[in-house]
Each structure stands twice: as C-alpha cells, then as structure tokens.
C-alpha cells in the first residue's frame, strides 16, 4: 500500500464518517426518562424529563419549578445566568405558567447533600413551556 493510497483510504474513511454522522445525528435526541425512575444512582448524570409545571418560584432571578409527569414530581432548577440567556434567545421561562409542559435536560443533583431530595439542574437548551 503506497502513501497516496493510504491517504486516499484515510480521506474515504473521514468522508464516510462525516456522511454517517450527518445522517445519524438527525435522529439523535435524549429520550425523556420517567421521573419515578430517577434515583440517587443518577446523580451527576444528564437526563431529560418531560412534565407539567406544578409550582414555580423565582428567587434572585433563579427559577425553581416542580414538575410532574404522572409518575412522580421532581424539582427543576434554572439558575439566573441560564434563565437570562434563554430569555435573550426568546425562551422567556420567567413567564411560564402552572400547567405548562416543559422538557428540561440537565444534571441530576441532590440538594441539600445527603438529604435524598433529587433535582435537575437545567443548563442548556430551550424549555418549551407549551
């Protein structure tokens, strides 16, 4: 195998990978996880959940939702930096009403530490609020 042949194979490999990545990335989305299935084993992992807003509290521009997906409730935290960025992009989560459906994606955390209370810290991506 000569050098140019090896280079051609490497280029073919990259192009095939790019094409495959382009096609496969279309179908790539985190599947929502039932809230009931989120346990302390998930702490530190990124999960997506979808549920209806039951409560909404705003404190120092941080937004705290409690959402329910018919299996369980969980608290969703959106810190002010994230919430402001989302508002700038037209996703004003401060105006979300109770009863709206949202699908946050974020890290599972326990707060206060050792309490057993789990929450999801939403960091990126639009929250629908439909």
């Amino acid at each position: 195998m000569e050098e140019h042949a090896l280079r051609n194979i490497a280029v073919l490999c990259s192009v095939a990978g790019l094409l495959l990545l382009f096609l496969a990335s279309e179908n790539l989305e985190l599947k929502p996880k039932p809230i009931k299935e989120i346990t302390s084993d998930d702490i530190g992992k990124t999960v997506k959940v979808c549920g209806e807003i039951i409560t909404k509290t705003i404190s120092n521009n941080h937004v705290f939702f409690t959402i329910n997906d018919s299996t369980e409730n969980i608290r969703v935290v959106v810190f002010n930096s994230t919430a402001m960025k989302l508002r700038e992009k037209g996703n004003d989560i401060y105006s979300f009403e109770k009863g709206s459906m949202i699908c946050p994606t974020g890290i599972v955390d326990e707060y206060p530490k050792g309490s057993g209370y789990l929450e999801i810290i939403h960091k990126k991506g639009f929250l629908s609020g439909d």
């Binding site: 280079r7 490497a10 490999c13 495959l20 990545l21 990335s25 999960v47």
Partner: protein, 401 residues
Amino acid sequence: MFIELLAFTLLGIILGTATGLIPGLHVNTITLVLIGFGAGMNPYPLAAALISLAITHTFWDFVPSILLGAPEPSTALSILPGHYMLLEGRGLEAVYLTIIGGIGVILLSSLLFPVIIAAVPVIYRNIQLHIHWILILIAAVMILTETGRKIPAATFTFLLSGILGLIIFNSYILPSGIMLFPVFTGLFGMSTLIVSLNRKTKIPPQEMEIEKPQRKIVFSGIVKGLFSGSVVGTLPGIGAAQAAVLTQEITRKKDYREFLISVGAINTVVALFSLISLYTISKARSGAALAVQQILPDFGFNEIIVLMAVALIAAGISAIVMLKTTKKIVDAIQKINYSIFTAMMMVFLLILTAFLSGLAGMFILFVSTSIGLIAPLTGIKRSSSMGVLMLPLILFYMGIM
C-alpha cells in the same frame, strides 16, 4: 446537532493527538477533565469528544513508542520491531505500518459491523469464564516458542515481571492512574534505550519513501489484529497489551511489518470494541466507554452509529495528519546525534517519572528497567516481560487474588 458533534469530534482529535504524543499523559486523565468541564451540557457532543480522543490516541501513541522508546502497555511490543526498523533507516515505514493497521481495522470493523454486533454477545458468553485459561495458553505459547536455553530465561523473565506486577497491583505504592507508567517505561522503554546507548547506536539516514508492503501482509495483519483485538476488547480486565502478545504468536516471526500492522490494528480495535461491548453486552471496557455509559445511560442503536461515525472521522483525520507530520518528526530525529538523543530521552523519562510518580515511581522504574534488560541481553522475546500484566490477571481470574 451535526455541527456540535463535529466540533467536539475535532476537539477530541486535538486532545487525542496530545495524549498520544506526550508520554505519561493518559487518555483517562483527559477523559475526567472533559467530563468535569462538560457537566450539564448535551451529552452527545461530549461522548463524541471522548470517543474521538480515545481513537486518535491509538494512532499517535506509536510515535513516541517507536521513535523515542517511550511506550504504553498497548504499544510496548511495537518498540522492538519499530526500533529495529528505525535503526535500519525505516522508522517512517514502521509508523506508517501502524497507521495502515489502525485505518484498515476501522474500515474492516465498519464493513463487518452487523456480523460483529451479532458475534460479540456469543464470544462473551462462551469465553468470560475461561479467561485465565486463555491467558495461560498465550503465556505458554509465548515461552515454549523460544528455543533451547532460552525457555528457562523466558520463564524466569515472565515470573519475575509477574511478581513485580503482583507487588505493584497489591501494594498501592502508586495511584492506579499512573502506576503502569514507570513499569512500562522501565520494562520496554528505558531498557531499549540503555541497550541502544551501550551499542553506540547511530541512526542511519531514514528512507523517506515507503517500501510498499504486500497486500497479503496488510490484509493478514489487519485480520489478525481484528481477531485478537476483538477477543480481548470484549473481555474484562485484558486489553491491547495481551492482544499484542497473542498476535505476536500468530504472526510470522521474521516479518516485523505484519506484526506492526497488527499492533496498529489491535490498539485501535480494542478502543472501538470497548464501545461495541457497551452496545451489545452493556459492559464498558475502557475509561472512555465508562464515561460514555455514565453520560448516555440509554445507549442504543442511534448512539452506536453516531459514535462509529465519530471513530471513522477521528481515524481518517488522524491518519491524514500523521502522514503529513511523521516525515518531519523522522527527519528531525535523523539529523541529531542518536547517542545524545537517547541520553536526553532517558533523562526526560527519568524527570517525567519523578514528576508523575515521585520516589516510589523512580524505584519501580529502576526495578522494571533491570527486568526489562533480561530479554535483550539473553536474546529472548520482549513479550516475556508482559508477565507484569498477565500473571496478576491469571491469578485474579483463577480466584487466587
């Protein structure tokens, strides 16, 4: 999502190039850093960066191993044939052969993907309870293929390095992340450099044109690499180092080229199979796969396809960049006085070992270098020193420790 995935794939390639080229900078260290920085972000691009990093690393880590004598477990057995080729003026060819192995096995694995995903669970079910027998068989073949008086020397080296492994793995002398660095630097790197220095080795002018390897050797090297790599890549606790030993026994003894192609293939296929194992049997077989498992709990068909695509891109780009840059590295090496260069490399490895692992690491480096010298001085195969990993694993899988 496509642009994000691509950007993180490129980030992984840059980081993998750094971990491959810098001896002692481990993939798992950067994986942990990436996981830390990426906390809370979309996990798919992060997973793309991790896999791209792992695959790229398997291409570049042959450069310090072959040209500088600074190996990792997975590349340790490439040192001797690689070093010989360097001393024959064919250092560039040695690195190219590992690229052929890496790129070839990625393409072959992609073509055989449906067969592989069907075969892995079957291999795993049938072999997992017999790993120690497989390792004993490999060790026995490795020792018994020596001739005459070399058999006791090979047995002695295997046991001695194995005892070193047992002490290191059981004593917690060093943190697990870096414990193998002084061991492999001593067994395979420093000992090779000492022999070179003692023989007042001179690097001859390096051939910048590659001798075209026969298609038969290329194909055979890749297939043997795929076979060995896929078996060990699926099983727990053993990896590219053991696959290289297995391959050394099934490749033509006098043809370094086939062996280097196989080692190049193994290094990459083991990284790839850690991902395939995650999909087929839900077992993570590497630091990168474990990290992917953590950030992508629902690892399904879409995920494996995306990460296979990432692996193809990382392999292709790494090969292209290596083809461009390795000539310059080899060109620079041939212009320097190799004795001075070897001495500088030894000082560099000493400083790096002291920096990474302190006094304990220096002591381990001294012991492992002494054991590593037995093979070149008695004329036995270097792989006998692989007892450092194989003996502890055999005892572990036999349930003795």
